[in-house]
Every structure is written in structure tokens, then in C-alpha cells.
Symmetry: C2
Subunit: 338 residues, 2 copies
DNA sequence: CTTCTTAGTTAAATCGGTTTAGCTAAAATA
DNA sequence: TATTTTAGCTAAACCGATTTAACTAAGAAG
């Protein structure tokens, strides 16, 4: 049972494939194809279960109705949920999504961008890893429509959709300070990505605004590609120092989850031994006992906005750059107060 | 800066595009193209940063080097991780992955299959929702290479990769019985999917093997598409009955997470008020306090096997059907013993 | 000196659609 | 009646690669 092509239909009806194409694309009226023939074509197409070959269509029209998505890791609930929202929104507009996990490695995103650019997608949504500036510039140069999410590069004029990371971290930290906690650590990562820099800045500003000194030994920056062990030792240091911290701000849920595991395995309890606030809001934080106070990102909106902007750029390649900064939502749970 | 095509290279060198194509596909020797010209072609291709248009290539060769993946929901960590493993394995073989979330709805997977079949992918890995038998039969009829994961249909001879759900549920239940727990409930879903049936059967068999009566009121089957509320009321019933259960087996992590939230919001504690064992092993279970005993599925292997089988079927469409049943791993944590 | 090899190269078909430009016959207008 | 318009349809180019089936010129063999 071979797939039926335009030609099959055309031949069986003794008409040209041009006609069949026009009719099936709803341009029958416009090209004054007689009602009679239009009916016949549609009927036979249905009977033969005709599905246009998107590859052929794509070759001619230069459109694939597919968007590429490059994120760090779709197994990470933050990116998984974001990916899902992007998929949903794209699907509403007739687009499919090709997912790529970069593992935050510029060499991976490099390959993925190249792959996606080989005529496979109409545009790209990317959460650019550290050191991928060149890649973004090359997207720009090749006029590939793209939107950055989660982070951006200050010196590159791009479309992007991010959250107000400074404000988010500021609020999270302030919340603990307002609960009479003053010895607050921050465990973070990738010191060079703008979103992480802003989170750290927000943390610092909240401290200084309350006249609390910012101590370098209370800021633990995990290596580029961090493992459970890295986090464990950081936590251990923070919690075993003479001047032990009372609380920790985690700047990603990946670190947060590892951090909580570490806290537990050190035999400590939240919040009695140490208070916790974390960026992102994975399910884990809701069912954890106690539940973890979280800085939730508006994933639905991020997804919706990024797709919207991308599609606008696909339609009109000269569209002016759009920069969207969304607000986070602080969710107070039991983990962050004495 | 337009993309360079084969023709561009050919014209600039004054040779035919046939030659260029042959050289760049490593068939230069075979077709005795002179070393001299080969070098020139390769050099210019590199200079112009030539990338073959995969759409054009796909049209001609009928191969896309893309596989389609249809899962319930990539935001669900179980499927997210599985998806990631599939992506990894596919990528090792030069394949990309198009992700689709069906939300366990047959109408969605129907559309997604149709979409993927329009010449977009070389094969499909699908976790078929309830009621999608027809769709699988049509995949079969159209000779589309496909592999089922997580579940299968008993009356359809398909490739599939699943785990031994009966044994897994049996072990999980038995573990609690061995800890002197006898009043064990099971909260499950989708009573018609084979994997869920087997999980329920495993639970029942473990009880009867220990001479514990199987009570219908201790088996809560969540509706097809369940929400937090559904689980909440089920849990409430189980824990407020006169003959209150001492433990619960959750047959998916989605239900498990909702269940744990419910337990907490009822003011109950694990394991003192109720013991818990759950299928799957999301991060949430590791950082939950107490950590949750889990029936972990070998996601890496499932991903690897399903891709392997799919690629074999893409290479050879007459390949005989392969059925792989993998073992789960029971991870004892603090949630399941008194 | 002709014929056969062989090395080196290419024209053209093909994949399955979309789109442009134009054709034919009948109807309308001059 | 001659010309223009219009309705209805189609041939052929095109997208950018792969692949088949030659074709040419030079050297080898007879």
C-alpha cells in the first residue's frame, strides 16, 4: 500500500496535478475550478487518504512548519515543562517541535544549530549555553529567525524572553531576611550566564539593603557542569563552618534538588537546621516534607511569548527585536521560616 | 548571505553538480574523480560552509534521519527522562527526534501519527494511549517502522520495549507485606492499558500469595485523565475508612506525587501514618522527607533498546518483531517500613 | 590504423509538491 | 462577423539534492 501522491489523484481523474494541488489547497474558487471537478478531487483525495508529502512541500516552499528547540536537558523538569508549553503553543499554530538537549555545552548547541539550519526548521528557540555568543551571532548573520529563552547576551541585540532574575532573587532573599534570618548562603552555578549573574546580584543586593555583609565564603558557585558531589561538598562546608549559615538560596532547581538530598544525607532537617528557598518549582518541592518555598517561573507565558515572537519573526524577517521580561512568583512554603 | 547549494559550488568550479555531490558523499574514489578536483571541491565546500539541504536530500532519498516520539507528556519526569535517553541514543546514530505529547488521548496521538507520517520521519516510537489500537494497526498496514514503549496491545504483533510490570508490582507489594504490613491499598489508573492491568495483577497476586484478601475498596482506579482532586478524594477515603489502610502502592509517579501531596494536606505523615511505595523514581522521591521507596524503571535501557529496534526496522522493513521485557529495580527508602 | 578499455566527467531523470505563465473554447462585446 | 473577455484548465519550471546512464578523450590492445 504505497502512499498516494498528487499525481495518483490527477491521473485517476484525468486532470493535471496543478488542478489537484489548487483544489486541495483551497484555491479552487480563486482559480475558478468548476465545482463539479472540485468535488470529485476532494472525494477521491479522501478515499485514497491522501496526505501531502511535507518534505516535497517544504522543498518547494522553503517552509517546514517545524521549529527547533535547544534547551539544556529535557529530563530536567524545568526545561521539560517549558518544552511542553512551547510544544503546546507551537501546535496551536500548526507547528511541530524538534527538541535538542545541549547539556549546557556550547559545542553541542553548535552542532544542533547547524543540524537545524540544514533546512529542517523555520526558526529556533534556544536557551544559549555559556560561550555560545558566536553561535547566536551566526544565527543573526544567516537571518535565521530565533528567540532566546531563560537568558540572553547583553552585547547581542536579540529577541528574548526571560524573567526578572534580579528581582526574583532579591525577593526570595528578602523573604528570609524578613523572617529574621541573616546568615544566608547562595548556591549557584555558571557564573558567566546573565541569568545567574542577576540572581546572584539580587541576593547580594537584598543583603546589603538590610545591612548584612556579603561574605564570599557563603557564595558557592558550582562548576559549569555540576554533579551531586559538587553540591554535597558545598553544602557540607556551609553547614559545618563555625559560623554556620541558617539558610540557603538555591538558584536553580537542579542545584536545589541536589542540595536538599545533601542536607538530608548530612542528617540535617529543613527548616529546623537550615531554611531553604529555591528557584523554580518542580513537583518535588510540593511533596517534599516540608514543602520547599519556591521562586516559580511563568513557564506557560515564557512558552507562549517565545513561540509568538518566533512566529512573528518567521513571517517577517525584518521584524524588530523584542525583549520580554516576565515576573516570577514567590511561593512561600514551610521550608523558609523558623 | 544565502545558503550555498551544490550548484553554487559546481558553477564556481566549472564542474557538474553530480561531481560535487559524489565527492562530498565520499564516492569520489569509487567514481574515479581525480584527486586534484576532489581537493578543490572539498576546499571550496569548506570555504563556503556548505551544508546539504536535508529537505532536498530527504525528498530524493526518502530518508529524513528523524524519528518521531509520541509520549503522554514530556513535562512528566518519567517521560521527560525517557525522551532524553531516546534523544541521546538516536543522536549517537545520527538521528534527530521530533517530540509529541499525546496527553494519553487517542485523538491526539492519531493526529500526531498522521502528521509524522507525512514524510517527516523514518519511524516512530510511541507509548500508545488507551484506545489507540486502530492507529497501531494502521502503522502496521502502512509499513511504517515503529516500536511501542511502556505498554503494548496483546492482540497486535508489534515491536515493544516494556518492563515486567507484574513482577515489579509484586515485589513492591511483597516488600511491604514482608515488613508486616497487611492493609495495603493500590491507587492506579487507566484500567485498560496492559501495563496498568499487570501492575494491578502483581499487587493482587502478592496479597493472595500471603493469604491477604484482596478488597475492592482498597483499589482506587483514577479516571482516564486524572487531576489532583481525584487522587485527593481517593486518598481521603482510604485513610479515613474505619478499617484504614496502613500503606499505599502508587502505580505511577504522577499519581504518587499527587498522592503524597494529598497525604500531607490531610495532615498525615509518611511512614508513621501511612507507608508508601511508588512506581517510577522521580527526583522528588529522593528529596522528599522521608525519601520514597520506588520501583525504578531502567530508562536508559528502554531508550536504548527502543531506538535500536526502531533503527533495525528502518533498515530492514521485514525485520521480525522484537519484544523486550526489562526488569525494574526496587529501591527501598524510608517511606515503606514502620 | 582500427577497436577496445578505462579514466574522468556530466546530462538528465527523479523525488512530490507549488507556482507561473499561458492555452483553449465559449461567451460577451463591438 | 471580428474581437475581446472570461471561465476552466494545464504544461513546465522550480526547490536542491541523488543517481542512472551515458559520453569523451586518451591509452592499450590487436
Amino acid at each position: 500500500m504505497k502512499k498516494t501522491s498528487l499525481n495518483d489523484i490527477a491521473q485517476q481523474l484525468g486532470v493535471s496535478k496543478t488542478l489537484v494541488s489548487l483544489v486541495l489547497n483551497g484555491k479552487g474558487k480563486e482559480h475558478r475550478i468548476s465545482e463539479d471537478i472540485q468535488k470529485k478531487v476532494k472525494k477521491l483525495a479522501k478515499e485514497l487518504n491522501y496526505r501531502p508529502n511535507q518534505i516535497a512541500k517544504g522543498l518547494r516552499t522553503g517552509k517546514t512548519n517545524t521549529i527547533g528547540l535547544i534547551i539544556a536537558d529535557m529530563a530536567n523538569p524545568f526545561f521539560g515543562k517549558l518544552g511542553r508549553e512551547i510544544e503546546k503553543e507551537a501546535s496551536l499554530h500548526g507547528y511541530r517541535v524538534m527538541f535538542c538537549s545541549s547539556d549546557e555545552k556550547a559545542e553541542n548547541s553548535q552542532k544542533q544549530i547547524e543540524m537545524l539550519q540544514q533546512g529542517q526548521v523555520d526558526g529556533i528557540i534556544i536557551s544559549p549555553p555559556e560561550g555560545s555568543e558566536e553561535q547566536i551571532l551566526s544565527l543573526e548573520a544567516s537571518k535565521t529567525p530565533y528567540v532566546l529563552v531563560d537568558r540572553y547576551f547583553a552585547d547581542i541585540d536579540s529577541n528574548y524572553v526571560v524573567v526578572d532574575n534580579f528581582q526574583a532573587a532579591y525577593e526570595g532573599t528578602k523573604h528570609m531576611i524578613n523572617n529574621d534570618i541573616r546568615k544566608i548562603a547562595c548556591v549557584t552555578t555558571s557564573a558567566r550566564l546573565v541569568n545567574m549573574i542577576q540572581r546572584l546580584e539580587g541576593y547580594k543586593k537584598a543583603l546589603t539593603d538590610s545591612n548584612i555583609p556579603v561574605l564570599e565564603e557563603r557564595i558557592k558557585v558550582m562548576p559549569f557542569s555540576h554533579e551531586k558531589n559538587d553540591v554535597f561538598y558545598a553544602i557540607k562546608e556551609l553547614l559545618s563552618a563555625k559560623d554556620r549559615v541558617e539558610a540557603i538560596l538555591f538558584t536553580t532547581s537542579k542545584i536545589g534538588v541536589m542540595g536538599l538530598e545533601s542536607i538530608h544525607s548530612l542528617g540535617m532537617q529543613v527548616p529546623s537546621d537550615v531554611r531553604v528557598v529555591s528557584f523554580d518549582d518542580p513537583d518535588a518541592y510540593k511533596i517534599s516534607f516540608p514543602p520547599i518555598s519556591a521562586i516559580a517561573q511563568p513557564l506557560k507565558e515564557i512558552g507562549r511569548e517565545s513561540v509568538k515572537i518566533l512566529l512573528e519573526n518567521i513571517k517577517n524577517k525584518e521584524h524588530k527585536k523584542q525583549k520580554v521580561i516576565l515576573n516570577t512568583r514567590f511561593i512561600e512554603r514551610k521550608s523558609s521560616s523558623k
